[in-house]
C-alpha cells in the first residue's frame, strides 16, 4: 500500500485542527521549487487520439479480424503510449490529492509534503517519456544507410583520421552483426589514409541510429608523421544518407528511366583515341551529373561499368532524398520562425582527444574516457545513446513550444 493511499485514507477521518501552526507554516511549505508540470491539453488530445486508435484496433480484433504487420507495430506502439498515459494520469491525480492535503490538513502536511516531493520527479519523467513517444518518427527511420567519409583540414593526418573513422563504423556494424560493405574507397597516394570512402550499412533502421554521426569530427593527437611531438588538430567529415533502393542493376535501370533525359547526364571518363575495337583497356568509370540539384557522383571502383553505374545511381538517389529532407526541415523551421539551435553541417560535432583519452560530443556535452573502445566501434553506442536522448529532449521541447 503506497503512502499516498494511506494519506488518502487518513484524511477521511476528521482530525483536530492545527490551523494555527498550519497558517504559520503555510508561507514556507508549498513552494519548494517543485512545481507541478502538466502537459499541454493539445498534446493530451493527441494522446487521446492514439488511445482511440487503440480502441479501434481492439474492436477490430474482437470482431475476429487479424493484424497484418503494420497493424501489429501500430498496436504495440499505441498500447505502450496508453500505458504511459495511464501512469501519467494516475500520478497527476495523486499529486493533486496530495496538494489538497497540504493545503487543508496540517496534521499530515509533513508526510504529504515528502511524498509530494518524491512524486513530482516521477511525474516529470513520465511526462517526458510520453512526450518522446509523441515525437513523430524520422522520415527515414526504417532505412538502411550509406556513410560518406572525407578528410577535412589537416593533410595526411586528416586522411588517416578519416580511415580511423571508417574502421570505427565498420567495427560498429560488425559488433552489431549488421551487414555492411565498402562501396568505394580511394586511398591516399602514399598508402596511408583515405581521400574518400563510401560505406554502405545494409541493416534497416541503421540510418536512424547513425544519423547523428553526420557532421565534422575533430581529432587532437600527436600524428605518426610528427617528429617533434606536437599535438595536431585535424578534422574529417561524415555524411549519412538513407538507402532508398537496392544497389542492383535492375533497380538502377528503373531509377534511371525515372529521370527526364535533360535532367541527368551520364559521362564516361575515357582515354582519347578512336575507342571501340581500337582500344581494350578496362574503362569502367562512370560519372552522373544531376542538373536540377547540381549533384555529381562518380564511381570507378568496379571493373564492370554496369555495376559502377548502379552504385552511382544508388548514391545519387540517397543524396537527393537527404537533400530533399533537409530542405523540407529547413522550410518547416522557417515557417515556425523560431530560433532553435540547429547543428549546421559545418559545425564540429565531436572531438576525439587522444592525449586525454577523451571523446566529447559538443552537441549534448557528453564525455567519455575510452578512445580505444570508441574507435573500435564497441562502445560507440554510449555516444549514440546520449545523442539520441538529447535529440529526443530537444524535439520534445519543440513539441511543447508548438502546443
Amino acid at each position: 500500500m503506497s503512502i499516498s493511499y494511506t494519506i488518502r485514507m487518513l484524511t477521511r477521518r476528521s482530525l483536530p485542527s492545527y490551523g494555527l501552526i498550519a497558517r504559520r507554516w503555510s508561507s514556507t511549505v508549498p513552494e519548494s521549487g517543485l512545481k507541478l508540470k502538466e502537459l499541454h491539453p493539445s498534446l493530451l488530445k493527441r494522446v487521446e487520439k492514439y488511445v482511440e486508435e487503440l480502441h479501434g484496433l481492439e474492436r477490430m480484433l474482437s470482431d475476429g479480424g487479424s493484424f497484418n504487420d503494420t497493424n501489429q507495430k501500430l498496436y504495440a506502439k499505441v498500447s505502450y503510449i496508453k500505458d504511459i498515459r495511464d501512469r501519467y494520469l494516475e500520478q497527476l491525480e495523486s499529486l493533486k490529492e496530495l496538494q489538497e492535503i497540504i493545503d487543508e490538513d496540517p496534521s499530515l502536511r509533513d508526510d504529504a509534503q515528502s511524498e509530494y516531493e518524491k512524486l513530482v520527479p516521477e511525474l516529470t519523467e513520465t511526462s517526458n517519456e510520453l512526450l518522446r513517444k509523441l515525437i513523430p518518427p524520422h522520415e527515414f527511420a526504417d532505412k538502411a544507410c550509406i556513410l560518406e567519409l572525407r578528410p577535412g583540414v589537416g593533410g595526411i593526418e586528416a586522411m588517416i583520421f578519416a580511415q580511423d573513422l571508417l574502421n570505427m563504423y565498420a567495427g560498429y556494424a560488425q559488433n552489431k552483426k549488421w551487414k555492411f560493405h565498402l562501396i568505394s574507397k580511394s586511398e591516399n597516394q602514399s598508402g596511408s589514409g583515405i581521400v574518400d570512402a563510401i560505406l554502405s550499412i545494409d541493416e534497416p533502421g541503421s540510418y536512424n541510429r547513425l544519423r547523428h554521426e553526420a557532421g565534422v569530427h575533430r581529432v587532437q593527437r600527436i600524428p605518426a608523421t610528427e617528429t617533434k611531438g606536437r599535438t595536431h588538430t585535424s578534422t574529417a567529415a561524415v555524411v549519412v544518407l538513407p538507402q532508398m533502393g537496392e544497389e542492383s542493376e535492375k533497380a538502377s535501370d528503373a531509377y534511371e528511366r525515372s529521370f527526364k533525359p535533360d535532367e541527368i547526364r551520364i559521362d564516361v571518363m575515357r582515354a582519347s583515341g578512336k575507342g571501340g575495337q581500337h582500344v581494350n583497356t578496362t574503362d569502367s568509370a562512370v560519372r552522373i551529373t544531376h542538373f536540377p540539384s547540381g549533384i555529381v557522383v562518380s564511381m570507378q571502383d568496379e571493373r564492370s561499368q554496369h555495376k559502377n553505374k548502379a552504385k552511382a545511381f544508388a548514391i545519387l538517389r540517397a543524396r537527393l532524398a537527404e537533400k530533399e529532407r533537409q530542405e523540407k526541415e529547413e522550410k518547416e523551421r522557417s515557417v515556425r520562425k523560431d530560433q532553435v539551435t540547429t547543428t549546421d553541417r559545418s559545425d564540429k560535432i565531436r572531438t576525439y582527444n587522444f592525449p586525454q583519452n577523451r571523446i566529447t560530443d559538443h552537441r549534448c556535452g557528453y564525455n567519455i574516457h575510452d578512445i580505444e573502445g570508441i574507435m573500435s566501434g564497441e562502445r560507440l553506442d554510449h555516444l549514440i545513446d546520449a545523442m539520441e536522448e538529447y535529440d529526443a529532449d530537444a524535439k520534445a521541447k519543440e513539441l511543447l513550444e508548438e502546443a
Binding site: R270, G276, H278, N280, Q300, H306
Partner: protein
Amino acid sequence: MRVCPAYIRKVSRQDPLLAMLVGVCRGESQARQELRWMRQELVDPARVRWACKLRSRQVPLQHVLGSQPFGAIDVLCRPQVLIPRWETEEWVCDLTSRLAGMRLQIVDLCTGTGCVALHLQRSLSAARVTAVDCSASAIALAQCNAGRNELQLRLLQRDVLGWQPDEIGRVDLVVCNPPYIPPDKLVRDARASVRFYEPRLALVGDKEFYENLVRVWLSRTRAFVYEVGSEDQCAYVKKHAGKEWIVGTRKDARGEARVVYGYRDGDSEFARAFKGYDNL
C-alpha cells in the same frame, strides 16, 4: 603517349609493381585501379607480380585476369577471341531495356565470346537468341560462357559472309559487332595491346558485313542493330538500305558514332522500342 623515366622511377619508389603498369596504363590512376583489381582477384603476391609482368608487355588485363564483366553477366576471355568493349556493353544494355517484354527471334552475328547474345538471352526471357561465328574457338568459348552463366544458347559455326541463312527461319532482330577497323587504319588507330594480342579476324574489316547486311539480312528481318567504327559505315547502310527502312545512328558516351540501327517503316513495335534511341 610516352611516360618519362623519371616519373616511372618516382612511382617505383612507392610501389615497384605500380611502376610496371604505369606505361601500359598511360597514367597513374588507371595503373592503381588495375593493380587493385589484380590484387583483389589474384590475391597471391607471386601471381600478382606475374600478372604485372604480363601486363607490362601489353597483355590485355582481361587475358591476365581471364574474364570481363559485361552488363549483368561475366564472360571468359581468351586470346583467340575479341574482348568485349564497354561501348558494346553500353548499347546492348540500353537495347535490352527497350526490348523488355517483346517475344523476339534474335540472331547475333560475329558473336565472339557470346557476350551480346548471352546478355540478351539473360535479360529477355521471352526471346530466342541464335549466335553465329565463323571461328571454332569463338564458338567453343561462347558455349563455355553460356554454361558459366547458366543460359541456353543456340550456337552455329557459319561464315556469315558466305552463308544463306535459310536454316534459321523467321528473324525479328539482327545484332552484330563485326570487325570494323579498315586494314590501312589498324596500325595507326589501334592500341599496341589490341594489335599484339587480339585476333585480326575480329578486328579488320571495312564494309563487308554492312554489305552483307544490305544484301542478305534486310529482306529477312524486321530490325537490325550493327556496331560501327566510323560515320562512313553508318552512311553506307543508310544509303543502301532502301526506302522502306528507317535507319539511325547512335553515339556512344564519348560522342563517337557507335551503332547503326534500323527498322521497317510502319513497324510500330520497333518504332516504339527505338524511340529516342538516338538521332535519325
